[in-house]
Symmetry: C3
Subunit: 478 residues, 3 copies
């Protein structure tokens, strides 16, 4: 394989001689022996040299130019009352298989992390370039050597240009990008459910911030995603095919209102075999109408977001746009999502959230999936470094699968409640991280939910009915 | 999978406008035209601005705040006299299977590395937070593309808080942490054997430096480790189970004396099948008494450490606490370890070490493992960048396995001697790195040792009796 | 496994108290209250302190000391006219299997990246040390989670010393290194073909820049490469063996002329079974004569390089020295490579290239491989951030394989032409990166080429005859 290519000449960083420094030191030495008038002059020169030199150094030290590092990470233990790892994760219920998350506090069994390496440059003409590499890993092993259990992989590798010297008019503030990435704007979430409201990622190119007026801007993008190794030969189980799902989006802002419209096409995906027949979608449409509020639903200080999403065909996976190739050609999904954050007095914060979806003909003609999740995170600030956090979740679901992937029909509800004493460097908001927490959780659900799937968490040995779980976790982002 | 979560708002680093700099430059310009009194004033302001600005930049440049990078790495060739890779590693003898290391100089066939990415912050209230990510790899392939042979994985991902604003009394100097990590203190070694004296790693949480008095401090920690995919069905070889080994430790310091006590429990590990029967331990205790000396055994300048370790049940793996789930319920191990470093005249350094262990009923009732290793590293400093290094190892062992894992009983000894011309940036101590070395090694052992195990190095084709090996290696840490 | 070893004491960076800063601030405060004479003195001291402090900080911020980050990366989509991923890559033709690359513009289907983490130190005696770690990944999946499809691995981990305090005479300017690496000098390429002219990588040690006179310098190196898991048992297909290919090189410069000579030996590689018989080479020689021009072939401003390479036995893979263990003991290859870059007027740049090889008895006695590639990259600079790029490639080949690896004989030619509108932060040269491009490509070839190999791109379903392909890509290095 001849894939490598390094550029030594380009790698010789910092080859620029330190003329400025040398000059400054020379002037400084001179100043010691010169008369007061000359010394005054040299002080001026030395100050100017220092100021200029420091102005060049500072952006590097602060990550505005050159290298910088960002992270999301969590790691901890989730144990049942026997002291063994418990199944967990926000998607552990039957509804989780179609995106119905429940609360994450005290419900995460894994070490998951994203290491983001940035490199930023500014050209002489003022054009800025930003290269971003994200390496991520996920494992449920608690061991310190996870070569067999880990999943290190590259999730992002893209370049973005901004402040382009030659861009004018509606493009004056625009940025362009290409590579593999999470979309800049189509990646916002209800944190407490570990569920994006919408997520778009893949490999492609696009333009951000085409500015039609002060309050009207648009982003346009073209993403490809790979549908890999799906069954496509009706006579055997071995025959597999690949294709690409190509997604075109226009994401438009009118003040606080966001309207996203996407179309997608995956050539020959209709040859995919799902549940024994070939009726998979090869095209799809997706749209989202969202409002980004700067108060708590107009009631108090805080924030809120609401979104209404609808998709058809390949667009019927309304959260992860274009990521599910098993969707039926007649699939149709509608989802609402909303959350807000505000303060209740000086030391309490509250963040209620709701998410619900209905979808039909999703994977098999005649199937129907309906679920709704209520969630509330509550925090009581008790000191400079300590707060009590509480989270309650309730989910109701009615899933009629038509036997897709051997899943049974279920109709029932699930509830969980967590209490988590939490340490953080500085108490003061829902987004302050890192956090170190311990927690205890009680969860309970209808027995019927255990019948959905042999593969999911509910109904596993030692995990039927109702459960106490315990653990500790860190969470960090910067 | 919905594992990702980045926080764009949190990712916008360096958004703070450079007001201070602008101000300083403004004052500077003013100074050029103002009278002397005013100029004097502006010089004062500009100096203060520069000093403040530099005081903010400097910790970022030096890795005290923001990102910093640490490493341990080694990479080299280990060749036999035919010019082919030779088996090697400090654990290549039969005793190595139960922790009996021999010297590492000229005995390492691999590229092993740890890349450590740190990110440090200081909150407004003074609380410090440190996120650490360690990615590691190990391979014996000499090639530059090792996607099939490498083992890249995440060994650490944790957060630690110190200088907590709200901690007082015995907790004033305490640090707390959670995540996946190597314990801060329970990770010290006899470098020349590549053997820790004690090592504790896994996923959990803890507190360091609870200070009872000036000389009495304690650390408390709770770690989980995963016992994965062990056989547990006596009727087939397929049935496997998982459990967690939960380890509680108190690590106490009385001046130079360290006393560690640990208990551990792995629910249902007694269902594990070892050598055909179910007698594996599901609990364990472990203790270590150590002395960290600041002289060479009181005889001369230098350093020394001695440690006595004992463990039972799951604690009978006395070095890697809680890492071996095959241990018998009656297993008992006792180990001593000691080393020191000192100078012999101006240009010679010496570091003798000893490690020995006896264990009974380790994996199978009635087995018995005894081994002892003597090792001495000697260095002769011959220039600013060059020294000759020598290492001699002798190991004697008597291993009665009761047929565990098909291993034969062996009783014999092993010796090796290495000479290694070594380059380093600055000669002057055992811990100065990086080093670039070439080496030649002679090793010899009793033929009987070849019979221990078909899988270990001794007795492999071209590797029986006595051996010359050669090679080159770099070693670095920072 | 006992592979880890971190050195906490070494990890405590930045422990040095900020005495200098404290002193400077103290003096500053004093200055506010002191008389003018004293203030003048304190200004001098404060300036000196700032200058010294900044002189220490600056190399860290600029990557001259401490950590720095380098990258090569590309990522994009390559689609056929049905909107599905097309096969691609510079080595997609039959000649590609023996190194015959065609143009890369609009011909790369993958995300490939190299993340290079450097750490540089300067000892008190002036000796410099540079540790370099390179992690790389390659995947053709467009998805943002590629744990199953990616190939993250470590390609380099080495240490290099320069400015050695004790080196004098012809070694005064020499650097020494050990570890796993790409050779510093034996890694230069024809960028537009994604083909090195020569590449040497592996694990070993060496010395650079032994300076015999102002214009005569030499590098000497010893590299090992692993030949892994090759078939060696004539009675079964299961028996495999390993060996090491050890390569000794002398790379000599006489002004602009470079003469490289290498010998290599792989013990027992003659036991390898290739095409059913054991005639693989176990030794080899390789040589290259190259000229590095600082004009466009003496005709105009620009650059050019020409190289003539020849190898026999294991040296007959003339580009990737010592990397192919299947070569026949009588294998002989000769290759020429040349390219240049220059300007055609103010806004046009051109870079023509040629590469051709003939080899005999390469893998099987009597086989014969001949191919020649012409390539030209042309760029038309149309604005501060925009240029049109064009690339044309023509390749002719005559490959007589004697049935090696089931490949058929082919004789024919291949042509491709790409047009690529390209954005970059600053237009101005062939080496300016990053670039964001879209492209359309037409390629056509003799039907006969489809018969070479069931595994290569040409002749795959939907990829016979002639093709239009389209896509977008970013490319970056720094």
């Amino acid at each position: 394989m001849n894939t490598h290519k390094t550029y030594r000449s380009a790698l010789i960083l910092g080859a620029k001689p330190l003329h400025r420094l040398t000059a400054a030191v020379g002037v400084a030495s001179l100043g010691l022996f010169a008369g007061q008038a000359h010394a005054q002059e040299s002080v001026e020169e030395r100050l100017s040299a220092l100021e200029q030199q420091l102005a060049e150094v500072e952006p590097h030290a602060k990550g505005e130019q050159g290298f910088s590092f960002n992270t999301y990470a969590r790691s901890g233990l989730l144990l049942n009352s026997d002291g063994k790892s418990a199944p967990g994760g926000p998607y552990l219920t039957p509804a989780g298989s179609v995106g119905g998350a429940v609360g994450r506090l005290g419900n995460e069994p894994d070490t998951y992390l994203e290491a983001i390496l940035n490199y930023k440059t500014v050209a002489d003409n003022g054009t800025k370039a930003h290269y971003r590499l994200m390496i991520a890993d996920a494992t449920t092993s608690s061991n310190d050597w996870t070569a067999d259990d880990g999943a290190l992989n590259v999730r992002q590798a893209y370049v973005q240009f901004s402040n382009l010297a030659s861009f004018t008019g509606i493009f004056e503030d625009a940025s362009i990008w290409a590579g593999k990435r999470f979309d800049r704007d189509l990646d916002f979430d209800i944190h407490w459910l570990d569920s994006d409201i919408v997520f778009l990622g893949g490999t492609g190119a696009g333009i951000y911030d085409v500015t039609f007026s002060e309050s009207v801007t648009s982003n346009f993008s073209f993403y490809g995603r790979s549908f890999l190794d799906f069954p496509s030969d009706p006579t055997t189980t071995d025959g597999t095919s690949d294709t690409d799902n190509l997604i075109l989006t226009a994401n438009n802002y009118f003040g606080n209102v966001e309207w996203l419209i996407s179309g997608m096409s995956a050539a020959d995906n209709d040859e995919r075999i799902v549940n024994g027949v070939m009726e998979a979608a090869d095209t799809g449409v997706h749209t989202m109408l969202a409002y980004h509020g700067d108060s708590f639903f107009g009631l108090s200080d805080g924030s809120f977001k609401v979104a209404l999403l609808h998709g058809q065909g390949l667009g019927a996976e309304v959260k992860n746009i274009g990521a599910d190739g098993n969707l039926h050609e007649d699939a149709a999904s509608t989802r609402i999502a909303a959350y807000g954050t505000t303060r209740l007095g000086d030391s309490w914060r509250i963040a209620p959230a709701i998410m619900a979806e209905t979808s039909k003909d999703r994977y098999v003609e005649g199937d129907e999936y309906q679920w709704l999740t209520f969630n509330t995170r509550l925090a009581n600030e008790l000191g400079a470094n300590f707060e009590m956090q509480y989270e309650a979740s309730w989910q109701v679901m009615d899933l009629q699968t038509e036997g897709y992937e051997g899943r049974g029909d279920v109709d029932g509800d699930y509830a969980r409640f967590t209490i988590a004493p939490t340490f953080k460097p500085q108490v003061g908001g829902f987004w302050n991280r890192p956090e170190i927490r311990v927690f205890a959780t009680y969860s309970t659900w209808d027995d019927e939910l255990n019948r959905y799937d042999g593969g999911d968490a509910l109904g596993q040995e030692d995990f039927g009915g109702s459960q106490w779980t315990f653990g500790t976790q860190m969470e960090v982002w910067f």
